[in-house]
């Protein structure tokens, strides 16, 4: 065998990967539509009647605007018949996610993105719904009632959540996917994307959303699943190469794929001892590493199987300093973790958000991984990782002494005692406990402790803290003078008449973001204090107060030159005319005024 042969094959492989990539970036919509035309003619027959269902239950989701036991603006509203559609507006009976736009990315608390995150992964939030009957889906309609356009991906699962037997195999298939696109109207719409046909029946649908292009919170009213009980006849024919081409790159196996045949050739080939990788042998190690930095994780794993040199490069722990496994949540399991283990001993940032559910990752699998890879870990994202339990947190606290950043948002299956382990992490700088069952009796005590012990605190999110009072706020403000971001939205026990907001403004001159959402007592005096003292203010939310006038807002806007977001929704003194006038004088500020009808 000539030395040129392996080199040619490697080059061919690169070329092949590029070709595949080019095929995939062809307009998905067009391809989908043409297939729909073929299928629709014989999709339904009298023997295979279409079943139309509303969602039965919401079983999982990453965030919502409302309070945990409430029916207002919570994800559970997505189940059942629509309550609002076709009306447009900001209604309590809809499902609303926690954030919108890019405001949270502009905050001091915004996290930096992971390296090597595929640009095709744009999902920020998700919701999973079940339906009564399993069907072969023919359509999924989403009834959006406010600021539509957030849904970017729809998936179907092969597992039946209502089946008494655990499923043999759990497969997620993308029915439809698109990049975030701006929808210009804020009006209600029935979103009817063209979905792909799949060869298994489903009653578990997942929507993934990206709200970054929205002008305000999106609100969803219902999801309708159209399908047939029996497999549509034509689906056998349409399970062609075309459909496979449309399958998203990121969902293919990392550790085995269509390259298998070629891999076998290499493992059996006598590669000899001397270097014969052509020009690759001449390139400096770091340069090859730099080239490899641009590959996605699945491609990196595939490349490792091409030859010994590239195997060495691709398995170099330096390639896995940032490991973002969130885009691969649908396939990531214990085996994947075990496979990656050896390469990840130096990992510093690990993102396992959304992964491991429905039995994909076990406690032992996770623990084993952390035992090997936890020592250098600085940042750990575990949002919506429902496999986590008390033992897992114990392992984290023991194996990750250098951890500075821990995100456990929406890990609502973690028992309260699990959080005790976090106390052992002495280097923590960022901790997210959104929607967890951590037990807090008295928020004033918490605020007081934070004021006493966390003097360097920059950001604090106390959204929906049910019993914090002016006492807690006072101790917080006097202790944490460096605070730049404070979210006190929906804290009903704070009363402006105690002077707590005025004091807060005077004591926190570095405030960039202040949310006082739905605090009905915020008044002109508070706004004036903010204007005098918090000139660095960029984001302010005073939704729902009757006591703030346009005049004081004008003072605020004049004083706070950096103000970019001002939410005056449901502020009775600030009507649309006032908003227009303020906008005319201060065109760079986004003044948000939501409405119900």
């Amino acid at each position: 065998m000539s030395p040129v042969f392996p080199m040619l094959t490697v080059l061919t492989m690169f070329y092949y990967m590029c070709l595949r990539r080019r095929a995939r970036t062809a307009t998905r919509g067009d391809m989908m539509n043409s297939h729909r035309t073929i299928v629709s003619n014989s999709r339904t027959s009298p023997l295979n009647a279409e079943v139309v269902q509303y969602a039965k239950e919401v079983v999982d989701f990453s965030s919502h605007y409302g309070s945990e036991n409430s029916m207002s603006y919570t994800m559970w509203n997505l189940a059942g018949v629509p309550n609002v559609f076709p009306s447009s507006g900001d209604f309590t009976q809809t499902a609303v996610f926690r954030t919108y736009g890019t405001w949270w990315d502009q905050c001091p608390s915004a996290s930096l993105p992971f390296r090597r995150t595929p640009s095709s992964f744009q999902s920020q939030d998700y919701v999973e719904l079940t339906f009564e009957q399993q069907v072969y889906p023919t359509a999924v309609h989403v009834l959006e009632t406010y600021h539509p356009g957030a849904v970017i991906r729809i998936l179907a699962c092969s597992a039946n959540p209502y089946s008494p037997n655990p499923p043999a195999e759990v497969r997620w298939e993308i029915l439809w996917s698109e990049r975030p696109t701006k929808v210009n109207a804020s009006q209600a719409r029935q979103f009817k994307p063209c979905i792909k046909q799949i060869n298994f029946p489903t009653n578990l649908i997942r929507l993934e959303v990206n709200s970054s292009l929205l002008d305000y919170y999106t609100e969803l009213d219902a999801v309708v699943l159209h399908g047939t009980k029996d497999k549509p006849l034509l689906s056998l024919k349409t399970a062609l190469v075309d459909m496979n081409d449309l399958e998203d790159d990121d969902y293919e196996e990392k550790d085995g794929c269509e390259m298998d045949a070629l891999n076998k050739k290499f493992s059996s080939a006598a590669l000899g001892d001397g270097p014969h990788n052509g020009y690759f042998d001449k390139l400096p190690y770091e340069l090859i590493q730099l080239i490899l930095n641009h590959l996605s994780l699945p491609d990196l794993c595939r490349l490792a199987q091409t030859c010994r040199l590239l195997h060495q490069h691709c398995c170099d722990p330096l390639q896995y300093i940032h490991l973002n496994l969130q885009p691969y949540w649908a396939r990531l399991d214990d085996t994947s973790l075990e496979f990656l283990q050896a390469r990840c001993v130096l990992v510093q940032w690990l993102n396992l958000s959304w992964t491991g559910n429905r039995g994909f990752i076990s406690v032992s699998g996770f623990s084993r991984f952390l035992k090997v890879c936890g020592s250098e870990l600085v940042r750990l994202e575990l949002s919506c990782s429902h496999f986590l339990n008390d033992t897992c947190l114990e392992v984290i606290s023991e194996m990750c002494p250098n951890l500075q950043d821990l995100n456990l948002s929406s890990c609502d299956k973690l028992p309260p005692q699990a959080f005790g382990h976090i106390a052992k992490l002495c280097s923590l700088k960022r901790l997210v406990l959104y929607r967890t069952k951590v037990e807090i009796e008295d928020y004033d005590v918490i605020a007081s402790m934070i004021g006493a012990k966390c003097k360097n605190l920059r950001t604090l999110d106390l959204w929906r803290c049910k019993n914090i009072t002016e006492n807690g706020i006072a101790e917080l403000a006097s202790g944490c003078v460096l605070l730049e971001e404070l979210d006190l939205g929906w804290c009903p026990t704070l009363q402006s008449s105690t002077g707590c907001f005025a004091r807060l403004a005077r004591q926190l001159p570095n405030l960039q973001k202040l949310f006082l959402t739905a605090n009905r007592s915020v008044c002109d005096t508070d706004i004036e204090e903010l204007a005098s003292n918090c000139i660095r203010l960029q984001q302010l939310d005073i939704l729902g107060t009757r006591m703030v006038s346009p005049a004081s807002l004008r003072k605020l806007l004049e004083s706070c030159k950096d103000l970019s977001l001002l939410d005056v929704s449901f502020c009775s003194q600030i009507d649309n005319k006032a908003v227009l006038e303020l906008n005319a004088s201060f065109p760079k500020v986004f003044i948000k005024k939501s409405f119900t009808q």
Binding site: S70, M71, S72, G80, P492, G544, M547, S569, F570
Partner: protein
């Protein structure tokens, strides 16, 4: 009440705990982005078909009557702080907090009892009870011959209309006027007010 309706339709309630429905609904009102203001009395009656029991919750001076064989067998008690000031759920403007009456939903009276076929359940606002004494209500109910929808609708309507007429009669000694006199106020006549009457009969379950 619309919130209560939503709660019930979505099954987020326990039939034997109507006070829970009131409490949850009231809390939900506070979750609305729109700053709601106002106050109200409340009366909730739950018929549990499987146990044949009626569970009630009443806050304030609206209320219910259960009539069997032409007689009142159960009734709600009026809850008042003082004359003409019933217990009430309220959301006050922030400036007025502490100055305005705001009773907690769990101050509601609750009762549970068995019901029988043919029992008539009447729920109404104080506009009815302040203008029509029991015997007049019972007289109207005696005219109810069968349990079809039209008859019940007609009877409910006639009760409400009668109460409405009496409300504007300046010489009539209404229950409200009687109560006022008992409290040292020398008045006569009906009490013009909003009148809401709901009438139900416990009947055989048909699809």
């Amino acid at each position: 009440m619309r919130t209560c309706e939503r709660l019930v339709k979505e099954g987020r309630f326990v039939p034997s705990n109507p006070v829970g429905i009131l409490t949850t609904s009231y809390c939900e009102l506070l979750q609305n982005k729109v700053p709601l203001l106002g106050s109200s009395t409340a009366c909730i009656v739950v018929l549990d078909r499987s146990s044949h029991r009626l569970h009630t919750a009443n806050l304030g001076d609206s209320g219910f009557l259960v009539v069997r064989g032409g007689e009142v067998v159960h009734r709600s008690d009026e809850q008042q702080h003082y004359f003409n000031t019933p217990f009430q759920l309220s959301i006050a403007p922030p400036e007025a907090e502490g100055v305005v009456l705001s009773d907690s939903p769990d101050a509601a009276d609750s009762t549970s009892f068995d019901v029988q076929l043919g029992d008539i359940i009447l729920t109404a606002t104080d506009g009815l009870f302040d203008n029509m004494p029991d015997y007049m209500i019972l007289q109207e109910l005696k005219k109810l011959k069968n349990s079809n929808y039209e008859s019940i609708q007609r009877t409910a309507r006639s009760i409400a209309e009668q109460a409405h007429e009496l409300a504007y009669d300046p010489n009539y000694m209404s229950p409200f006027a009687q109560f006022a006199c008992d409290n040292g106020l020398n008045v006569r006549g009906g009490k013009p007010d909003d009148i809401t009457v709901l009438l139900s009969i416990v009947a055989e379950y048909t699809d």
